[in-house]
Amino acid sequence: MSAETVNAARFTETAFVRRKQRNEVVAKAVFLLMTLAMVLPLLLIVGFLVYKAWPALSVGFFLDLPRNGMREGGIWPAFLGTIYLVVISLVLAAPIGVMAAIYLNEYAKESWFTRIIHLAVINLAGVPSIVHALFGLGAFVLFAGLGRSVLAASLTLAVMTLPVIIASTKEALSAVPVSFREACWNMGVSRWQTIWRIVLPNSISGVLTGVILQVSRAAGETAPIMFTGVVFYRAVEKGDLFAYGLLDQCMALAMHLYTISTQVPGVPEAVPFATAVALLSVVLLLNAISIGMRIYLRTCKKW
């Protein structure tokens, strides 16, 4: 008897097996459709936004000032304001976030205390953005006396994005094998020296990935900066890179999009679409860089 006939004799397809396999195919198809229903809108929406924005998009759009009550011209002051907010919040949040992650991953032992910190990080990530705005208004604008300013808005954004940095840095640190640390400690090296010379250099790309994610999150947020320092309009010289002081109010891209799409009547259709595409491309570009770094990191891992 050949092998084929043996197999044919062994596996006779019964009605039960057929039903089982049909269910399998149906389940797979349904789940695939559900996934596509979530993924396709992204592509369609981005495509549609770019299509609508095309007439207004140009390099000049980024570098020009808004004119005629924001109905014409470009987005330079808003773009610049977003850069200011993002850079300052990054400078404030990154060191604190990275050190908090170092504490959680390298120093703290499993106890009720680390459990509380863990819960606090989760809750901080879950606090609605508008509550962060209220906090920023109460703490930085009023209590600290910063007024509505770039600094107050950046501080609010920094607090809001802190959990992003903590979570991703912690993940990057814990990916460094414990044996690296043990080898180091056996040489009589102190804890901090181990972290500085071994753990951080080996996880730096992972840490940077998290930092980039924080930047992208900070660039897109609107609610927290609405009442803490960002205004509808502020006159700025064209091409002036140092237009805003720390205690000045500024414009921001996300807020600008909200304003021109809901508050200003008679804006030509392409302008808000172009602003949306500008904001979206900044955020998606940052995320793409972060994802690319993660993939590159995975391919060149040494351990």
Binding site: M38, L104, A120, L124, G126, V127, P128, S129, L280, V283
Partner: protein
């Protein structure tokens, strides 16, 4: 022995510096706890006048009355129940869409697709999560507005349904990524045992994986709910901004084509117009406190549910 002595003695400033750095790290380590308390404290501080002061807010009326007339000169009334109903309606409807689709996508990504497709889908979902909420709001008032008007024949497209679809698209990435983590946490030996018995993937899924991962999946849903309740800009822009209770007692119990206003949207829309320290201003901080409490409870519950599996 004496040859190694110079190495044993590090310069004094290095030892002291290291101690300082370690202290700094400890302080930063508790920063998250400090900030959570600070958020509660400062929001509470701005709201305390109306909670405990002379003419304090009647909390029962605040939670049950539908009369939200904060700007009335003669008789301002602060009844938030229509706003709470607005928040609830948008959240419930968006979860009705997002939970099946999100969990379905998580199951597909985790169990049914090959490694290459999995990578592509995960990256796409990640990008979906990255779209800022104000851009979602913009999509709501332009694209979704037109779609709702055309497909459902509504006179105005800025409705509960519009907000719910946008919110569903926003909270799906969270549900997918946390749900996928929960499925990944089920040991492979479970899968191997099931496959070894000759079951199909679908049978394995609903007999083995779903019971094993149910806590993690529940946590994924809860985190999605938390996100939906607190979402501000997108909902502010695309639910029509009318104080209105969309629920009623007859079937289908919810008018998806009504315009509503939610709690976070109310704060975002009205805070800019109130005088600092006024009654209206303080009431908005009370709403903030309410939101903080709701999301706090939801997040804590989600975490306890996850810990439930790990504790076993």
């Amino acid at each position: 022995m004496w040859l190694t002595m110079p190495l044993l003695h590090r310069p004094k400033w290095k030892v002291v510096g290291e101690g300082l750095v370690e202290w700094l790290i400890r302080i930063c380590g508790v920063s998250a706890v400090i900030f959570v308390f600070a958020i509660f404290f400062f929001v509470f501080w701005e709201a305390k006048g109306i909670l405990f002061g002379e003419d304090r807010l009647d909390l029962w009326k605040f939670l049950t009355s539908e009369e939200w007339y904060p700007a009335s000169e003669s008789n301002p009334r602060y009844g938030a129940s229509a706003l709470i109903a607005g928040t609830a309606s948008v959240t419930v409807l968006s979860m009705l869409i997002a939970v099946p689709f999100g969990l379905g996508a998580a199951l597909f990504i985790s169990e049914f697709c090959g490694p290459r497709l999995k990578e592509v889908l995960k990256i796409t979902i990640e990008l979906l999560a990255a779209i800022p909420s104000v851009v979602w709001g913009f999509i709501g008032i332009t694209i979704m507005n037109q779609l709702v008007m055309r497909i459902f024949g509504a006179p105005i497209g800025l409705t509960v349904l519009n907000g719910a679809i946008i919110l569903a698209l926003m909270s799906v990435p969270i549900i997918v990524s946390i749900g996928e983590d929960a499925l990944k946490a089920v040991p492979d030996s479970y899968r191997e045992a099931a496959i070894g018995l000759g079951v199909t993937r679908w049978q394995m899924l609903y007999r083995v994986l779903l019971p094993a991962a149910k806590n993690g999946l529940l946590a994924a849903v809860l985190l999605g709910v938390g996100r939906a309740i607190g979402e501000t800009m997108a909902v502010l822009m695309c639910t029509g901004h009318a104080v209105n209770n969309p629920f009623n007692t007859t079937f289908p119990f919810l008018h998806p084509l009504d315009s509503v206003r939610t709690l976070p949207a109310t704060i975002a829309a009205e805070l800019g117009e109130t005088a600092q320290g006024s009654q209206h201003y303080q009431v908005l901080f009370v709403i903030g406190l309410l939101l903080f409490t709701i999301t706090f409870v939801v997040n804590m519950t989600a975490d306890l549910v996850v810990k439930g599996i790990k504790g076993k």
